[in-house]
Structures are given as structure tokens and as C-alpha cells.
């Protein structure tokens, strides 16, 4: 896995993103929310009319695109990580409980999971948005609702595979409570597949979040988010292409890197033995 140049590049990009997300306030040359109207609609520095003061140009009210891009990274990653952590934790715990406890707990949780898979969560998210208005918390909740079921299903599957292994039986004989067994014995063993699932999902979540923001039902319009930037830049695509194209490219490369990394991680952690 470490040999492929594409994977190394992907990891580098992800690393950069994390740094950017953490240190955006220090790295961004300007504020993402206020701009000077005299500088509105400046193109990127390599085009005529641009300058190195605003390397990626400015938008309709003079906000620096580069700064907004950096803050956008922060927003996206934050929403993404939160949603995955919430969905992953709840989903995994439910999945492990379902797989380990069996019986009626399993049936109930499985039914709920089936429902989560068969209902159009995105539309529910839209309903949510009308009823409760777009906000940061809401979008994290909405995204978590869309994602949790996959973790539950995978965790349950993995749990079923190992619940009959000897070390679990030994823990039971030693007198461990069910909760303790699930958390200290089962969880660590299923976590590798869950982590892979999480990395493979990051790309999907980012696209989901940016799509919702693009539609205006995700984050509030004042937040610097790549999806919102694309939406706002859309009408200017002919005259000010950079407003729409650059944030989109940012999304593309971010998701690409996470997908590449996730695939490589998957191959690495779950090698399929191809005999001859």
C-alpha cells in the first residue's frame, strides 16, 4: 500500500486538509465572511485583472475565495467527522448489541435498520429543514440519520462471525457481564472493518453535505461551505468561472483522496488471498 504514488499523494492531500481545517483562522489571509466591495469579482492571479493579494480571486461581494476555500475545508471536515463519529458510534453499538444479544433485541434493531435503509432519508432531511430551519446541528443530525444503518449492519455481521469464538466464551465463564464483553472484547475486534467503512464513507458524506448545502437546506447560507460557494457561483459561471469551478474542484480532489485512501486501506486490512 505504501508503494503506490497515488496513495501517497492521497494521504498528503488528506494531511494537508486536516492541517488546513485545524489552522484555517491562522492560514487564511482574509476573513471568509466580510469582503471589500471595491475588490469584487477579481479573477485568480494568473488571469488578467487578478493579483497576488487574492490568489484565487474574489466573489460578488469582495470576499477572498482562497480564504473561503480554507474555511470551507474546515466546515466540511468538521461536519463530516462529527456525522461519522455520531453515526458510527450509535450504529456500531446497536449492531454489536444486535449481533451479540440476539433474540428480541436483534429482531427489533434489525427491523429498524431495514427501515432506515428503505426510507428516503434525504427527503426526510428536507422535511426537517422546513420544520426546523437549516443549522449546523440539524445537518449533523440529518447526515447521521442517513449513515448509521450501514454501521449497524456491518457491526452486526462482524459480531456474528466472532461471537462463538473461544475468547468470548472464556470471558463469559470468567463472569464478565454482557455489556463488558461487548465493549472490551467484541468491539476491538470488529473495529477494523468499521474504520474502513468510515474512511470509505467520508467521500460520500462530503458530497452529501455539499449537495444539501448547494440546495440551501444544509448549512446556513452565511457559513463558508464549498457547496454553498458552488451554488452562489453558479449564476456567474460565464463571467466569473472561478467562483463555481474552484470550490467544485476542491470537493472533487478531497473526495478523490479519501476514496483512494479508503480503497487502499481496505485492500491492506482485508487482503483477499488469491491462491495462484
Amino acid at each position: 500500500m505504501w508503494r503506490s504514488p497515488a496513495v501517497i499523494l492521497a494521504i498528503a492531500i488528506i494531511g494537508t486538509l486536516i492541517v488546513v481545517a485545524l489552522f484555517a483562522p491562522y492560514l487564511a489571509p482574509y476573513s471568509p465572511k466580510t469582503g471589500e466591495l471595491e475588490n469584487r469579482l477579481m479573477p485568480p492571479f494568473w488571469q488578467e485583472g487578478g493579483s497576488t493579494d487574492h490568489i484565487l480571486g474574489t466573489d460578488t461581494i469582495g470576499r477572498d475565495v482562497f480564504s473561503r476555500l480554507l474555511y470551507g475545508a474546515r466546515t466540511s471536515l468538521l461536519v463530516c467527522v462529527l456525522a461519522i463519529v455520531v453515526a458510527g458510534s450509535i450504529g456500531s453499538l446497536l449492531g454489536i448489541a444486535s449481533g451479540y444479544l440476539g433474540g428480541w433485541a436483534d429482531t427489533i434493531i434489525m427491523r429498524i435498520t431495514d427501515l432506515a435503509f428503505s426510507l428516503p432519508m434525504i427527503l426526510l432531511a428536507l422535511m426537517f429543514a422546513i420544520l426546523f430551519g437549516p443549522s449546523f446541528t440539524n445537518i449533523v443530525i440529518i447526515l447521521s440519520l442517513v449513515l448509521w444503518a450501514q454501521y449497524a449492519r456491518m457491526a452486526r455481521g462482524e459480531t456474528l462471525k466472532i461471537r462463538n469464538y473461544d475468547f468470548v466464551a472464556l470471558a463469559r465463564i470468567a463472569g464478565c457481564s454482557k455489556a463488558r464483553i461487548m465493549i472490551t472484547h467484541i468491539l476491538p475486534n470488529v473495529s477494523s472493518s468499521l474504520v474502513v467503512l468510515a474512511t470509505l464513507q467520508v467521500g460520500t458524506v462530503i458530497i452529501l453535505e455539499s449537495s444539501l448545502s448547494f440546495l440551501g437546506v444544509g448549512l446556513p447560507a452565511t457559513t463558508p461551505s464549498w457547496g454553498i460557494m458552488v451554488s452562489q457561483g453558479r449564476s456567474y459561471i460565464v463571467s466569473a468561472w472561478w467562483l463555481c469551478v474552484i470550490p467544485g474542484l476542491a470537493i472533487l480532489f478531497t473526495v478523490l483522496s479519501f476514496n483512494l485512501f479508503g480503497d487502499a486501506l481496505n485492500d491492506y486490512l482485508n487482503p483477499i488471498l488469491r491462491i495462484r
Binding site: D114, L115, F117, S118, L119, P120, M121, I122, L123, L124, L126, M127, F128, A129, I130, L131, V146, G203, T204, I207, L208, S210, S211, L212, F214, L215, G216, V217, G227, V230, R234, I237, V238, C244, V245, G248, I251, L252, V255, L256, N259, L260, D263, I272, R274, I275
Partner: protein, 307 residues
């Protein structure tokens, strides 16, 4: 097999009912359901009327009963905008456009993705295989709304080859369908490829060759049949993602479908219409899952018999 279908049918009905409950609860628990159901410009008379009609002053279970019986009669309220047409009517008028687009996209995805995946698996390691994988990766990483905008700009605005938006002949289908199918094609290609590679290694394929079958028959009859099983499952699971894709793509291309209807309803806070869309989409979903499950049982006899 019949038992299996029956079981799935019952599950489907239960799912739809549950969705009606969720939708119902969402609308009633916001404190002032009347406003949502009649709109911001409601008069006191409107509010009184709707309270009467839907029994908003009665206990919840009774409200639900009224709601459900209305729904079964085809009444899901009226739009709060425009002519205040019945929500069901509005949804039904926009449904065909969405179904057509989704159908075309699905067809294209399968027709392109499946053979691509098969060829990539057969010629594993070749230039074709690597390019297919790279393209698939890109396809899954590009944000659909952005792709739509870019394609629209390049082909419609700049090159004037295709219309930017609207609904009419085949020309209007091209850009939205391509945008919509990009993600699907990518996913189907990758899944077909990996599924085939797994199956190609299995013992019974060796036995097929031992019988003296030509390579072509081995691949297209034995390998593919077994490889399709995860692909079909995936398509079934992918439907939800297609829905977001549909809303976004319909919005970008001003496609007169229910996706865009949902978006507009959300924007104009037209709750009854949104509610109707949600319920219809659920019905659609559930129906598609059913079809996929039956297809799955047809492809894999082990499912039929071990239930």
C-alpha cells in the same frame, strides 16, 4: 418462492405504514400544524376549516386515523401555493418526468458499467483495466451538482450543442442522464469487476472449464450469473443515493420532476406537497426493493430455499 414473496410484500406494507406514521408525527408535533398545512398567508377561516377537516383539536391517534383514511382515498391535502391544487395531483403530474430520467440513467449505467466491469476483470492488469478503474474512481468522486453545472456550461452555453434545461425530446435527456449515471456507472463497474474477480477464482468455474466449455460460455453464463448477485443487491441499496442525486440534478437542469418539486416545496414551505412527495417516493422505494429482492431470489436459488 411464493412464501418469500409474501414475506417481502408484508414487509413492504409495514414499511409504508411506518413512513406514514413518521410523516404524520413530523407534521403534528411542531406546535402549530395548521400553519404548516395551510401556509403563511392563511386566514383565520382557513385555519378553522383545516382544524375541522383534519381534526387538529382531537387526540393524536384519532388524527392519524383521519390522516390515513384520507390518504387511502387519495387526499393528501392541498398545496399552500399557487392554485392550491391537491397535492396528489401535483405529484402525479410531475412523476413521469422523474421516472423517465431515472429509467434512462439506470439503463445507461447498466449498459455501460456492466460490460466495462466484465472486460476490466477479464483483462486484469491491462491498460484497459487500469483506465476503467481510474475513471470509476473519478466518477464516484465528482460532486454531481457541480458536474451538471460544468457539463451544462461546456455543452450548452459554450458549444451550443445541447439545450440547457427543460423537457422535451431526447436532446433534453442527454446532459441530465449523463450526470445522473456517472456515479452509478462508476459504482457498477467497480463492483462488477471485483465480484467477477472473486468468482473467477472459485472451484466450480474450474469445473466448468474441465467440462470443456469454451471460455466465452464460462464467462458469460457461469461467472456473470454469480457475479451479478452483489451488483443487483447494490443497485437496490443505491436507490436512496439516486434520490438525492435526482433532487440536485433536477434542480440544476430545471427538470420538471418530483425531485425538483420536493426542493421547491421545501423552499416555499409547502408542507402538504412535500409530504405527498415523501410518501410517493417511499412507495416507489419499497416497490423497487421488492423487485430487486425478487430478482435476487431468482438469481440465487439458495435464498429461495433457505427461508
Amino acid at each position: 418462492m411464493q412464501r418469500y414473496i409474501l414475506k417481502r410484500l408484508i414487509q413492504a406494507v409495514v414499511t409504508v405504514l411506518l413512513m406514514t406514521i413518521i410523516v404524520f408525527l413530523l407534521s403534528r408535533l411542531t406546535g402549530n400544524p395548521a400553519i404548516f398545512l395551510v401556509g403563511d398567508y392563511a386566514t383565520d377561516e382557513d385555519i378553522a376549516r383545516i382544524t375541522e377537516q383534519l381534526g387538529l383539536d382531537r387526540p393524536l391517534p384519532e388524527q392519524y386515523r383521519i390522516f390515513l383514511s384520507n390518504a387511502l382515498k387519495g387526499d393528501l391535502g392541498r398545496s399552500v401555493t399557487g392554485d392550491r391544487k391537491p397535492a396528489v395531483e401535483i405529484v402525479l403530474s410531475r412523476l413521469p418526468a422523474s421516472l423517465q430520467l431515472a429509467g434512462v440513467a439506470l439503463l445507461v449505467s447498466v449498459l455501460v458499467g456492466l460490460p466495462l466491469g466484465v472486460v476490466a476483470a477479464r483483462r486484469k492488469g491491462s491498460f484497459l483495466d487500469t483506465s476503467a478503474r481510474v475513471l470509476a474512481l473519478l466518477g464516484q468522486s465528482v460532486p454531481p451538482f457541480w458536474l451538471g453545472i460544468i457539463l451544462m456550461y461546456v455543452f450548452a452555453v459554450w458549444l451550443h450543442l445541447l439545450p440547457t434545461s427543460g423537457f422535451g425530446g431526447i436532446r433534453y435527456f442527454i446532459l441530465p442522464a449523463i450526470t445522473m449515471s456517472t456515479v452509478m456507472v462508476a459504482a457498477i463497474t467497480r463492483l462488477t469487476r471485483s465480484s467477477m474477480l472473486d468468482v473467477l477464482n472459485l472451484e466450480y468455474i474450474k469445473l466448468a472449464r474441465i467440462k470443456g466449455l469454451s471460455e466465452r460460455v464460462v464467462i458469460w453464463k457461469h461467472v456473470l450469473r454469480n457475479s451479478l448477485i452483489p451488483v443487483v443487491t447494490f443497485i437496490g441499496q443505491f436507490l436512496p443515493i439516486m434520490i438525492t442525486g435526482a433532487i440536485v440534478i433536477e434542480t440544476v437542469f430545471s427538470w420538471p420532476g418530483i425531485g425538483r418539486l420536493a426542493y421547491e416545496a421545501a423552499m416555499y414551505r409547502d408542507f402538504p406537497v412535500l409530504q405527498a412527495v415523501v410518501l410517493f417516493v417511499t412507495l416507489l422505494f419499497v416497490f423497487c426493493s421488492l423487485v430487486v429482492d425478487i430478482l435476487y431470489a431468482y438469481l440465487d436459488p439458495r435464498i429461495r430455499y433457505t427461508n
